[in-house]
């Protein structure tokens, strides 16, 4: 299969990078204020992906379960940070970090381990060629879902302070007072993945399937893997969003069911 793949040379990457540079120049000229961010993000992509390539190369040769667990942990910790960074008003202290990381951990890891053991069953089940890409795709999507969910929840709780307090004053319990916000926040977090499922194959060819086809796999094999991954990602994102919304909403109230917006960090 690999003989059919055209190997990319540094020159190929340099040519594609020049397009991004042209874009950065254009946005600078238009004063959109994103050119710096484009360049930095592009450099991060290069560094992070090359690093990942080296790490995976090394890991695939050794295939030691402890090393794989370590990499999985590092991925989770970075995803936890990203979730926090993408919120306008995350929770103060350890909660800001822990809430997203915990929801992602419970959801993504459970589903990844389930998929590896029950569905794909490589030997051993933690075979890094399967475990790491699967977990990576789970975490990447779950991260977006959890970040959207929590950002929606905390931002809107902040803006709806008067309404939430008024509902509490009329004797509603916290769950009833914030119920609508919780439902909306979960829906917001799940919309991207629902859209992705609906559009898959018609409007977009998902990245993983593209990769497999480029790597010389039969399109049908690629499609089957993509379906599996889509379902796992959807379940992972959905469960994590529900979990994050529930824990987050609970944290917005104290044991006397008072709205505690002082537990949120001011933006900036």
């Amino acid at each position: 299969m690999s003989e059919s793949v055209i190997q990319l040379q540094p020159l190929h990457l340099a040519i594609s990078a020049s397009l991004v540079i042209v874009l950065a120049l254009l946005t600078w000229h238009l004063r959109l204020g994103v050119s710096g961010r484009i360049v930095i993000a592009a450099m991060r992509t290069v560094l992070q992906l090359l690093l990942l390539g080296f790490v995976l190369d090394y890991l695939f040769n050794i295939s030691h379960p402890m090393l794989i667990a370590l990499l999985a942990l590092v991925m989770l910790l970075i995803a936890g940070y990203e979730v926090m960074a993408r919120q306008q008003r995350p929770f103060k202290g350890l909660w800001g970090y822990g809430l997203g990381a915990l929801s992602m951990f419970i959801s993504s890891f459970t589903i990844a381990i389930f998929t590896l053991n029950v569905v794909i069953s490589p030997d051993p089940w933690y075979l890094p060629q399967y475990a790491i890409p699967l977990l990576g795709m789970m975490l990447g999507n779950t991260m977006t879902g959890v970040a959207l969910t929590l950002d929606y929840l905390t931002k809107n709780a902040w803006q709806s302070r008067a309404v939430l307090e008024s509902r509490l004053l009329l004797g509603e319990d916290w769950r009833s007072a914030i119920g609508q916000l919780m439902r909306d926040s979960v829906r917001t977090g799940m919309i991207p993945i629902i859209n992705a499922m609906a559009a898959a194959g018609i409007i977009s060819i998902p990245g993983m399937m593209t990769g497999q086809i480029l790597a010389g796999n039969s399109p049908l094999t690629a499609a089957k893997y993509q379906i599996l991954i889509m379902f796992m990602i959807t379940a992972g994102t959905g469960f994590a969003a529900v979990l994050a919304s529930w824990i987050g909403a609970k944290r917005l109230f104290d044991n006397r069911q008072r709205l505690r917006l002082d537990r949120l960090r001011p933006p900036g």
């Binding site: 008067a162 309404v163 307090e165 509490l168 609508q180 006397r256 008072r258």
Partner: protein
């Protein structure tokens, strides 16, 4: 018959406040904006973290299930809040008699909240609060955005309710005339303390 007692109530720059309001008694509180009148009421209703405690007879705020306590001591905010589309969706009871008294009719239940004026919303908010049959009333400028006619209607409804149910009332007001009409006891919030006015 119930007596409302605030015991060393302290919140931010307000307090410690000790106050007893007897059943059927209306106590007025005034003071400059930012003096902490609304803070005090919200501490009594226990929607803000605070020191001290409040009692309604034997019922102790800190020992009562929060939703139950808040239903028992009804707080009417200065600015009413609405979250459903129509007026009626916000109500757990439909008291048409009081509704008419306040100058509405049964069509009002179907009105869009977004179509109501501030004054209409304030009167409807009182009606909504009374659905809970509160055994104490904490009123934050309940007639703040009402004209003279509606002010007197609301005043008489609250007085009747207080008298009939023997409910203690704390009434925050800015109007000297209203305070003279309504209250025998009047405090002013000064430097976080209640002083006789």
């Amino acid at each position: 018959m119930a007596k409302l007692k605030l015991e060393n109530l302290q919140i931010e720059h307000v307090g410690p406040v000790n106050l007893t309001v007897n059943s059927g008694e209306i106590v007025c509180i005034s003071g400059g904006s930012g003096a902490g009148k609304s803070l005090l009421l919200r501490a009594v209703a226990d929607v803000l973290p605070h020191e001290g405690d409040a009692w309604l007879d034997q019922m102790q705020a800190s020992q009562t299930n929060p939703p139950t306590w808040r239903k028992t001591v009804g707080l009417l905010s200065a600015e009413s809040q609405w979250w459903f589309d129509t007026v009626g969706e916000h109500f757990t009871c439909k008291n048409n008699e009081l509704l008419n008294k306040l100058g509405f009719n049964s069509d009002t239940w179907g009105w869009l909240v977004s179509r109501c004026s501030t004054g209409e919303k304030q009167r409807l908010a009182l009606l909504r609060l009374l659905c809970n049959q509160p055994r104490a009333l904490l009123l934050d400028e309940p007639t703040g955005s009402l004209d003279a006619r509606n002010t007197s209607v609301v005043e008489s409804i609250i007085r009747e309710y207080a008298k009939e149910k023997q409910v203690p009332v704390i009434w925050v007001s800015h109007s000297e005339e209203q305070i003279r009409r309504i209250c025998k006891t009047h405090y002013e919030v000064e430097n976080g303390q209640l002083v006789n006015a």
